[in-house]
Amino acid sequence: MNFQTVVFYVLSAILIFASLRVITAKNPVHAALFLVLAFFTSAGHWLLMQAEFLAITLVLVYVGAVMVLFLFVVMMLDVNFEQLREGFWRNLPLAGTVALIMVGEMALILMSPEAQLSHYQAAAPLAADASNVKELGRQLYTTYLLPFELASVVLLVGMVAAIALTMRKRKDNKTVNPGLQVKVRRDDRVRLVKMDAEKKPAQPETADAAEQQA
C-alpha cells in the first residue's frame, strides 16, 4: 500500500463521514459546513487523479463562492427544526425502499458488461511539466468549441432570467443616483446670506443699567 492509496482512503473516509453528516446534522448551518468539507475533500480526490485544474476550480467556485452564499441564506433562515423532523419515522420505510431501488439500479448498470467499464484503463501518469490548464483550454476551444459556447449561452440566459424574475420595483425603494450626487454643487444645497453677525443694540445705556443692577 503506497502513500497515495493511504491518502485516498483517508480522504474517502472523511468524504463519506461529511456527506452523512450533511443529511443527519440537526442544525442546517452545521449541515452546510459539512457540505463545504465534502466539496473540499473531493477536490483532494481530483488532485490524486492529477486533475489539478478541476480540483482548484471546485474549491474556488463551490467552496469559495456558491457555499458562502448558501451559508448566507441558511444562517438567516428561521426554521422550526421540530416541525421539519415530524413524520420522519413514518416516511422512512417508503423513502428507504426508493433509495435501495435506486442504489440497486445503479449497481446493475455499473456491473453489466455492456457498460464496458473494464475497457477504461487507469490514467497514464502525466509528465512532470504537463499543464492541465493548457490541455483543457486547447480541447475546449478547438474540439468542443460549439458545446462550450452553447453552455455559456445557456448560463447567460439563466442569469438574465433570474435577474428579470427578481427585479421588481419596490415602493419603499430608497436608491440614490450617484451621478446626480456627484453633480451636486454647493449652490444647490446651501444659500449664503450676507448679514451682520449681530444686531446693533438699540439703546447703548442698557449695558450700564445691567451693571448697576449687579
Binding site: 459546513l33 489539478e52 476550480t57 467552496v63 463562492a65 458562502v68 451559508l71 448566507f72 492541465n132
Partner: protein
C-alpha cells in the same frame, strides 16, 4: 537536504526538510505581521501629527511584543449562548488560508516552497476560503453585532472576488501562464527591455488599480471595513472574541495584507526584478530585496488609505464592486485581447 536524507532516510529526510522550509517562511512572516502593526500605528500617528507608540523599548520598537504578551495572558471568554465548537473553529478557519497560500508564493526565480503549475489559481482558491472564518465566527457568537458583521463581510468578499478574478485574467492572458514564477519572468522582457515600464502595471493599469482596491476590500481594511465598523457595529464579527482568539483574527488580517502586497508586487510590479538596467551593478541586480521593497510600498499604501479615506457606505461598496470594477475589467480584457492580436502587441 542530502545530509538530512542520509541521516533519516529518503522520505523522512524530505519531510523534515519541507517542514524546515515552511518554518523559514512562516516565522519571518509572523515577525513581519508583528512589526506591520507597529508600522501601522506609527505611520497613522505621523499622518495625524501624533507620535504613536514610543514607550516600550527604544522608540517603541518592542511594542508588538508587549501587545502579544498581553493578549496571551488574557482569558478567552466563551459566551454561554454561543455555538462552542464553531466559535473555536472560526479563528482557525480564518488564519489557515492566510498561511497556506504562502506555499506557492515565489520569492526569487528558485526560492519557492512549491512551484506548482497553477499557482495563481491555487492562491485564489485558498484565499477565497478566508471568508468562512468571518462568517462562522459571526454566526457562532450568537450576537447581533457579530452576525451583522459576518453578513456584510460575506457579501462584500464574494463581490470583490469577482472583480479580482477578472483583473487576474488580464495578467494570465499577457503572460500565458498560471505559474507565478513564469508571470514574473514574462515581465522581464518586453518593449522597454525589462525595466520599470515593461512590467504589467503599465499596459494593465486599470486592472492594477482594480486589483489593488479589491485587495483592500478583500482584507476588510479601511475604507472597506464595514465588517468591523467600530462606530457602527462595535467590532463586527469578532466582537465576542477576547485574548488569543481575537489575536488570531488580527494575525490573519495582517497576514492577508502581506499576501495581497506580495501578489500585487509579483503580478503587476515585476516581482523580484530590478527597476534599473542590469549594468547598474548592485541596484540593477534582481533579487528578494526588490520584492521586499515593492511589498513594503504596497503595504504603505494600505496604511495610507486607512488614514486618508472615510468608511464607505454599504450600498456604495456594492455599487463600486459590481457596477464599476467588473465592467472596467471586462472592457479592458477586450482591449488587451485585441491589443495582443494586433501588430502593436507588446507580448510575444
Amino acid at each position: 537536504m542530502e545530509l538530512l536524507q542520509n541521516l533519516l532516510g529518503l522520505e523522512a529526510g524530505l519531510t523534515v526538510w519541507t517542514v524546515l522550509k515552511i518554518v523559514a517562511i512562516v516565522a519571518p512572516m509572523m515577525i513581519t505581521v508583528a512589526y506591520l502593526t507597529l508600522a501601522e500605528r506609527k505611520v497613522i500617528g505621523w499622518i495625524q501629527l501624533r507620535i504613536g507608540p514610543n514607550r516600550v523599548g527604544p522608540r517603541g520598537l518592542l511594542q508588538p511584543l508587549a501587545d502579544g504578551v498581553k493578549l496571551l495572558m488574557k482569558e478567552i471568554i466563551l459566551p454561554t449562548a454561543s455555538n462552542k465548537s464553531l466559535f473555536l473553529i472560526g479563528p482557525v478557519l480564518s488564519i489557515m488560508p492566510a498561511l497556506v497560500a504562502w506555499a506557492v508564493v515565489p520569492f526569487t526565480d528558485h526560492l519557492v516552497l512549491s512551484n506548482i503549475d497553477a499557482s495563481l489559481l491555487f492562491v485564489m482558491a485558498i484565499t477565497s476560503m478566508g471568508v468562512y472564518g468571518v462568517i462562522v465566527a459571526g454566526w457562532a457568537s450568537n450576537s447581533k453585532y457579530a452576525f451583522l458583521g459576518a453578513m456584510r463581510s460575506a457579501a462584500q468578499i464574494v463581490s470583490y472576488e469577482i472583480a479580482m478574478g477578472c483583473a487576474l485574467v488580464g495578467v494570465l492572458m499577457v503572460s500565458g501562464s498560471l505559474n507565478l514564477v513564469a508571470i514574473v519572468q514574462q515581465q522581464a522582457h518586453g518593449m522597454a527591455g525589462g525595466s520599470l515600464f515593461s512590467w504589467n502595471w503599465l499596459p494593465l493599469f486599470p486592472m492594477f488599480l482594480v486589483y489593488l482596491i479589491s485587495g483592500v476590500a478583500e482584507t476588510n481594511r479601511a475604507p472597506f471595513d464595514v465588517a468591523e465598523g467600530e462606530s457602527e457595529i462595535v467590532a463586527g464579527f469578532h466582537v465576542e472574541y477576547s485574548g488569543m482568539a481575537f489575536a488570531v483574527f488580527f494575525l490573519a488580517e495582517y497576514a492577508n495584507m502581506i499576501l495581497v502586497a506580495a501578489m500585487t508586487a509579483i503580478m503587476f510590479l515585476g516581482g523580484w526584478l530590478s527597476p534599473f538596467p542590469a549594468s547598474w551593478g548592485f541596484l540593477g541586480a534582481s533579487g528578494f530585496g526588490w520584492l521586499a521593497v515593492k511589498m513594503a510600498f504596497v503595504l504603505y499604501c494600505f496604511l495610507w488609505f486607512r488614514a486618508t479615506f472615510p468608511r464607505y457606505r454599504y450600498d456604495q461598496i456594492m455599487r463600486l464592486g459590481w457596477k464599476v470594477f467588473i465592467p472596467v475589467t471586462l472592457v479592458w480584457l477586450l482591449v488587451v485581447g485585441a491589443w495582443m492580436m494586433s501588430p502593436l502587441t507588446l507580448w510575444h
